[in-house]
């Protein structure tokens, strides 16, 4: 499909944690992580940090996809993230999808949602600001 850009959606950290690109929906990458001990906090539940890592990864992936579509090159640097934990992440696969709410010249504002069984019932959401620096060299 023409609207799927060729991007590296995963950082070394995300690969390490077992996050993977699950599928594309409307030109947006859906990221997923299966439940295993690496993401577990209290028994049989996701650690808040792992859920946050999935949200951040989906946010960056959405931004990389949009930049690739616009043929813009940038080095992405985190400014901040605010995560809202809405429901406990249970012992099954979690998904996340980012949406670019504002793409500026130097920074992007991204909202992200994570869910398990039903995208309409998110387990966590996040708002992120990401700095887009000029590639050096």
């Amino acid at each position: 499909m023409a609207d799927i850009p060729d991007i590296e959606a995963l950082t070394p950290y995300a690969r390490s944690l077992g996050i993977a690109l699950d599928r594309w929906e409307d030109g947006t990458p859906i990221m997923a992580v299966s439940f295993d001990e690496m993401v577990e906090g209290r028994p049989d539940h996701y650690h808040g940090g792992a859920t946050g890592g999935l949200l951040e990864t989906a946010g960056y992936a959405a931004l990389r996809a949009e930049l690739a579509r616009l043929e813009r090159e940038a080095v992405l640097k985190p400014i901040n993230i605010t995560v809202q934990y809405l429901a406990a992440g249970k012992s099954r696969t979690s998904y996340a999808r980012g949406r670019i709410t504002k793409l500026g010249r130097r920074s992007a504002n991204i909202t992200v949602e994570a869910w398990q069984d039903d995208p309409a019932r998110p387990i966590a959401t996040a708002v992120m600001n990401v700095l887009m620096a000029e590639p050096s060299g």
Binding site: P12, E40, G48
Partner: protein, 148 residues
């Protein structure tokens, strides 16, 4: 309250929590604590980097470190171990962490109510006066203890 009267020992609890699960995978270690704060250490690891081609720790592990340090700070301030859940966590990444350095996450529980715990903290890579990140978070007690 003197140290001997305290029930919740952050050093022992860290060893318990980091033996497995997400914290164990990250390799979190106990660093320091006070009456209402706990500091944990996230050792440098090659496989926790952010963008390819840059030698900078990803932001995700810092979020996990601060979530864990915040939980420990709350248990320390309550001086008991009850189930809590993160409600809201904000991280401001003020500068990249130095390559090869451990990152220390220090969180303080500055207010406890019957059902909520408020924390603030910072992450640094050796000098707490020059942080790499600041955080603010609210946790909820999952099963509120009656008449706390």
């Amino acid at each position: 309250m003197s140290e001997q009267d305290r029930k919740f020992d952050p050093a022992k609890a860290t060893a318990f929590f980091t033996g497995r699960g997400h914290s164990g995978w990250l390799g979190l270690r106990y660093s320091d604590h006070g009456d209402d704060w706990v500091e944990l250490e996230l050792p440098w690891r090659e496989d926790l980097l952010g963008e390819d081609g840059q030698r900078v720790l990803a932001s995700g592990p810092i979020l996990s470190l601060m979530d864990m340090a915040s939980g420990m700070a709350i248990w320390r301030a309550m001086d008991e171990f009850t189930a809590i859940a993160t409600l809201d966590l904000r991280v401001d990444y003020v500068r990249p962490a130095r390559e090869g350095a451990s990152v220390f996450g220090r969180s303080q529980c500055y207010r406890l109510t019957r059902s909520a715990a408020f924390v603030r903290g910072l992450a640094h890579d050796g000098d707490a006066d020059d942080p790499v990140a600041h955080i603010q978070a609210v946790f909820m007690k999952i099963a509120p203890t009656a008449r706390l």
